[in-house]
């Protein structure tokens, strides 16, 4: 098992839990219980029932005929955009809210950038009647008014992070500080495969339903469980982790992770961590991150709010380092054009995050028989304003 987390919480040299002592008991409690709870039959029943009846799983695996024709291979879309709340994020929040209940927690906190994870968290808190506090950068609150309104309608308090650059990384800092201040009553629902151990592994496990379903669906459609390629966009990397999870040890299935180049890898306005990142510590995890020579964390940039995280999850740093995954960086303009193309060819408007994955096709050379599964991680409704402005629609 080369690509799963080891006993100390590391993927190769990445991962761990680099947190102040005040957080040690919180993480220790999670670490001692999460596998036991996840593997519990009753928990699995609750989780699977909610995924089916509330989230709408299994999501379809759709053969994208016109895209396949254009790029001369067999392209399948894993339709996570059809999940309740519009993206894969809810697979994780459903799992974590059930886990929090079993740990006896009375209060939930979460960070959010564009608001997708915030909405997914507020949703499950409403479902389970648990108090919910969402930290969001003050700058993002201004940019993402509809999602802020959604969270409020769902009963969550939205707290502005006014520190640092007032965006996702600062919202994450504030959520961690809240957890330090409220160690016993509160569970922190991290939205991606980032943060201190056991979060990267726990979130990956809750997202692994994506690849579990693909195996069965592909067997039915192509008479094999295994595609030739998996393709996902990656910020922190939770949708990618879900897509890869059940294929990691099968190296015949190739992995391509598409990150955001912003205005260009060398433009100074980018989120291309695989190129620009160096090993360091961010949010309690040792991983690749964008930083100055002095080790100060750099604010990333992408037109897509879900991809502008200055690091990647430690699993993905390990996949890059071990060459299990190939990374590509896609610019804003390529991503926007791909978003338009997918809409016109398949009748599905993708989130701009998801559009990054499709922009990779014109740079890749597949064989006509290659089966390529793309994680259609989210729908584009939330990005309409950006699309309107960009294309003068």
């Amino acid at each position: 098992m080369k690509y799963t987390v080891d006993k100390k919480g590391f993927y190769g040299k990445y991962g761990g839990a680099f947190v102040p002592e005040m957080l040690f008991p919180n993480l220790d409690e999670l670490e001692k219980n999460y596998n036991k709870i996840i593997n519990d039959k009753e928990f699995q029943n609750d989780y699977n029932n909610l995924l089916r009846d509330y989230v709408g799983r299994p999501t379809p695996l759709f053969f994208a005929e016109r895209l396949s024709e254009k790029y001369k291979c067999k392209i399948y879309l894993k339709r996570e955009d059809l999940c309740h709340t519009g993206a894969h994020k809810i697979n994780n929040t459903i799992g974590q809210i059930l886990l929090a209940k079993r740990l006896g927690k009375k209060r939930i906190i979460a960070e959010t950038g564009a608001g997708q994870h915030g909405v997914a968290t507020a949703t499950v808190c409403a479902l389970k009647g648990i108090e919910c506090v969402i930290y969001m950068g003050a700058v993002d609150i201004k940019r993402q008014a509809p999602n802020v309104a959604r969270m409020k309608m769902l009963g969550a308090s939205v707290v502005a992070a006014e520190s640092g650059s007032k965006t996702l990384k600062d919202a994450t800092n504030e959520a961690i500080r809240d957890w330090i201040n409220n160690p016993i009553t509160t569970h922190y629902i991290i939205g991606s495969v980032v943060g201190p151990h056991p979060y990267p592994d726990m979130v990956a496990k809750f997202q692994s339903i994506v690849s579990e379903e693909i195996k069965a669906q592909l067997l039915e459609k192509e008479n094999t469980q295994n595609p030739n390629y998996l393709l996902a966009n990656i910020g922190g990397g939770s949708n990618a982790a879900g897509l890869y999870y059940n294929y990691l040890e099968n190296e015949n299935v190739k992995i391509i992770s598409v990150e955001a180049a912003g205005e260009g890898v060398k433009s100074g306005k980018s989120a291309a961590t695989s190129v620009l990142g160096k090993t360091g510590i961010i949010h309690g995890s040792k991983t690749l991150l964008m930083q100055t020579n002095d080790g100060q964390i750099i604010e990333p940039y992408s037109i897509s709010a879900g991809l502008d995280y200055p690091g990647v999850g430690p699993l993905h740093a390990h996949l890059l380092e071990s060459k299990r995954a190939e990374f590509m960086s896609i610019t804003d303009s390529d991503a926007m054009l791909a978003g338009l193309e997918v809409s016109k060819l398949e009748g599905i408007i993708p989130a701009i995050e998801t559009a990054h994955a499709f922009a990779a096709f014109k740079y890749l050379d597949f064989k006509t028989n290659d089966i390529v599964v793309v994680n259609f991680s989210g729908r584009g409704d939330k990005d309409l304003d950006t699309y309107i402005e960009y294309f003068n629609l």
Binding site: P20, E21, M22, F24, I180, I297
Partner: protein, 254 residues
Amino acid sequence: MNRIDNTLNKEGKLLSIYFTAGHPNLNDTVDIILKLQESGVDMIEIGLPFSDPLADGPTIQDSSTVAIKNGMNTNVLFEQLNGIRNRVSIPLIIMGYFNPILQFGVEEFCKKCNQVGIDGLIIPDLPIDYYEENYKSIFKKYKIYNMFLIAPQTSDERIKKIDSISDGFIYMVSSSSITGSKESFSSKQLEYFERINKMNLKTPRITGFGVGNKDTFNAAVNYSKGAIIGSAFIKNLESNGLKSIERFIKNIRI
């Protein structure tokens, strides 16, 4: 034995001050240290600023943001501290998050500390086990003490382990909270102080977080060898400047 032990062996209760290097102005570092020594402070924690200080409240975070903007970084700090030992005899500790130290190189960092006369480090986000496995021998080689934190939720078992591997002192975090001064301690906090006191640890304890005035200082040192003031000192520095340092310290010590 290093300067930290000598100071801990002194009679009476110790006052330690934390400030962020490079704040309010880039080149205030040495002046602040000299004024603190003149004012009778027993120990100093020099904060190496970090962009994302997870355990800190708004005061220290803001001072760190200003310091980084002013141009403070690891190289600049060591340059400023060069020669400090000709003028300062009290223990000097650098407190900073792990990433800037990791980027500088842990061994290189310890070597520099040794050269300029830093006695110890407090790195809140460097876990004990990881330190023991990877860096302990380096710290020993350069005679740099590494001080660990304990907090109200830390288990007795873990406190005993920390006690057994600690150099100098244990940094006792006064509450389950981030840094920032409070008016007084709650009865729950005092219970925790009492509980730790009864454990008869071999390592002296210095209390920090939430200590900011004479009352909280006196309450904290009832249960420990000394206390650290950070946010309250930084706020005072911001409002009243370096000339107010002596009066600030006197008001605590009265």
